[in-house]
């Protein structure tokens, strides 16, 4: 079989001792940096890109891929332990992961994230190897109208993430979209909503918003509670590994997450982010078994599924890069940079011109995933110890890591002032009962949604019906509408009941 022969070629390249060493170094560095909040995979790869100049191209890409996974895994660790999403795709992990950690179940949460990611990584790698070429055809079927519809679906999914008021959740999404538009408009070159502050011309940084709203907002809220109410974490830690019951709940969630992530990852344009949000939405819609904790209150499915989706998406997002030459996200854009430095033109020809590189990279992805599990499962015990540090030592340290993380992304003092502003906003949102997760998704998708909307309507000469006349886009919007109705029905019912009580 072609597939086996190809994979054999790949492993013969990736499994040489020296390349294994580079993969190990990449994973280690990535995890270390990913654990520090604020320094995500993009910053890490950007910082370490020069280091790889001197290496042969295969080794360079293998190491960079290792950093990518490592950072992603490390980002989930902080999301679970201290409620700080290191990067956009681990935002949803904070919801149930942090609740689990507070209930003394950080160990199972971390293990679920690790094992789920590994499984998804294996499947993603196999899919990538088997279907790289045919799957790219699907990406061609996606025009701007389809991308818009897909994003609307993603945003509607985010509404389901919020457990509170539906209206407030939608408003937070829109606010996020608007904040995402701050900065220079790509088409006209006009600086929008920058209040004449030159630093805002590049837009508001994701790190500043995430650190401010999630990190500082959370710390201030915790400190506002006095003494016994605070109870950030329960003292007793229940086991490091998931129980048999946990595994039973986890497995189907991992499978669903993997399937969803693999499909969404192929689409250029933030597939992996959408994948984790969509996977969580799906889990939330699945009926709870008797005695199961609801999602949002520390359900292991809420960690396992988005983490698997995220990792599967991260794998399959190499497909558009390696076959079409389109980088689906910032990390992949840096990988393109790394390839061009080594005189490799990414695109369909990579598979035929550099088969060793293509298959070697795919094999190294699997090796990298294996290394992460081997590295991280024993480290869970160490991470748990971190939670036993008294809070009055922990919170100044978190403030420091946030501040350093924000400062180093752009080496700008202005970003630190910005994160303070978003910290204040985070506290206000908490006080007003507005949940921040939908805001963050809106913020990430804002610029993309505007861009595709513009393109779609330009092609359709301003005719809005394009979104329902194209079948794929119509189907996606129909699913979005269905989701809204599903969320609305119980809300209307309870509102009615409240109204009757008032009478």
């Amino acid at each position: 079989m072609d597939l086996l022969a190809n994979l054999a070629t790949g492993f013969s390249v990736a499994a040489t001792p020296i390349n294994l060493l580079y993969a190990l170094v990449g994973c280690l560095l990535g995890t270390l940096i990913g654990v520090l909040p604020g320094i995500g995979p993009v910053a890490t790869i950007a910082m370490l890109l020069p280091v790889t100049y001197a290496l042969p191209p295969e080794s360079a890409l293998i190491m960079l891929a290792g950093i990518y996974y490592g950072a992603q895994y490390g980002g989930s660790t902080t999301a679970i332990l201290v409620n700080l999403p290191g990067e956009s795709s681990s935002v949803v992990t904070t919801i149930d992961g942090y609740q689990m950690a507070r209930q003394g179940r950080a160990g199972p949460a971390l293990a679920a994230a690790g094992l789920g990611s590994f499984f998804a990584g294996c499947v993603g790698t196999l899919l990538l190897a088997a279907f790289a070429a045919p799957l790219t055809e699907m990406a061609f079927a996606f025009g701007p109208a389809e991308y818009c519809a897909l994003m609307v679906l993603g945003l509607v999914g985010a509404v389901v993430l919020a457990s509170g008021s539906l209206l407030k959740a939608i408003a937070m999404i829109i606010l996020g979209l608007l904040l995402g538009l701050v900065g220079t408009d790509v088409n006209s070159g006009l600086a929008r909503f920058t209040l004449d502050i030159p630093e805002l011309a590049d837009g508001i940084g994701f790190v500043a918003v995430a650190m401010g709203v999630f990190g500082y907002g959370e710390i201030i809220t915790n400190l506002a509670k006095t003494g016994e109410d605070r109870e950030v974490f329960t003292a007793k830690v229940q086991g490091l590994m998931p129980t048999r019951e946990d595994f039973r709940q986890m497995m189907p969630a991992v499978l669903r997450g993997t399937a969803l992530g693999s499909v969404l990852g192929i689409l250029p344009g933030g597939g992996a982010v959408l994948a984790s949000f969509a996977a969580y939405t799906l889990e939330k819609k699945i009926k709870l078994k008797p005695g199961e904790v609801p999602l949002g209150q520390g359900n292991i499915r809420g960690v396992a599924s988005p983490e698997s989706a995220n990792n599967a998406g991260a794998q399959t997002s190499f497909i558009p890069l390696l076959t079409l030459g389109i980088p689906p996200n910032a990390v992949m854009a840096l990988m393109v940079g790394a390839m061009t430095i080594h005189n490799i033109q990414p695109g369909p020809q990579v598979m035929t011109v550099n088969p060793e590189l293509f298959w070697g990279l795919i094999a190294s992805m699997w090796i990298g995933n294996l290394m992460l599990v081997v590295l991280n499962l024993p480290m869970i015990g160490i991470w748990i110890k971190l939670l036993t540090v008294p809070y009055h030592y922990l919170f100044p340290s978190i403030v420091l890591f946030c501040a350093v993380g924000v400062y180093t992304t752009n080496n700008a003092t202005f970003d630190i002032a910005l994160v303070a502003m978003f910290g204040m906003a985070g506290y206000v949102f908490h006080k007003l009962g507005c949940e921040p997760a939908p805001l963050l998704l809106g913020f990430i998708l804002g610029p993309m949604l505007e861009e595709y909307l513009k393109r779609a309507l330009k092609l359709a000469r301003g005719d809005w019906s394009v979104f329902i006349t194209r079948p794929l886009s119509a189907a996606l919007l129909a699913v979005a509408l269905l989701l809204i109705v599903m969320v609305l029905l119980p809300a209307i019912k309870s509102k009615r009941e409240e109204a009757f009580v008032e009478d």
Partner: protein, 188 residues
């Protein structure tokens, strides 16, 4: 935004006082009332700026103001709905906003701002870059003051020393980030 919310809190109190006798339009949820106002003001702001400063264009030729105008209008309308429901739908606990935790708020954000100012220096007030070590000590001390119950200056200074050492090891020695370690005028 926070200023807005503060003003809203005050407004909410007055409103609930003045309409206390006619129970029909009393505020049923303070949280929703304030967030409704917040969304109306922000949405209105984006709408106004898009209309007044940017070209809106048409659906086939969208100007830079088109999308923010639409989104701003939708946000303001959603805010209106939330505000309306906060006056109509009864909430069990009255949706109280509760007291604002000024001490943690000011200490955490202040620690963060002090760190930025000391690390990078502020030209406009003639503050030179004081380097990472000074910035970390300032951040740790100010942040620790947020928790008045557990504040012990000796513990805080030990923590600051540990954090400064660790940060040097990780960020400067290991990762090679470009950050001044000591005050600029010492030229170390």
């Amino acid at each position: 935004m926070a200023q807005g919310a503060q003003a809203l809190g005050g407004l909410g109190d007055n409103a609930s006082l003045s309409v206390a006798k006619r129970r029909i339009v009393s505020i049923k949820s303070e949280k929703d009332f304030a967030s409704g106002l917040l969304f109306i003001v922000t949405g209105g702001g984006f709408t106004w700026v898009s209309l007044s400063s940017y070209t809106v264009g048409s659906a086939s030729q969208m100007g830079p103001g088109y999308v923010p105008l639409v989104l701003g209008l939708v946000l303001a309308m959603l805010g209106g709905l939330i505000l309306f429901f906060s006056l109509v739908v009864e909430t069990p606990d009255g949706g109280k906003i509760g007291e604002i935790a000024w001490r943690p708020l000011l200490c955490i954000l202040g620690a963060n701002l002090a760190f930025g100012a000391l690390l990078g220096g502020v030209e406009s007030i003639g503050l030179p870059s004081m380097g990472l070590v000074v910035a970390i000590v300032a951040l740790t001390v100010i942040a620790a003051m947020a928790d008045s119950t557990a504040f012990d200056i000796r513990h805080v200074l030990v923590l600051a020393a540990v954090l400064a050492g660790g940060s040097y090891g990780i960020f400067i020695a290991l990762l090679g980030l470009q950050m001044p370690l000591w005050p600029a005028f010492l030229a170390l």
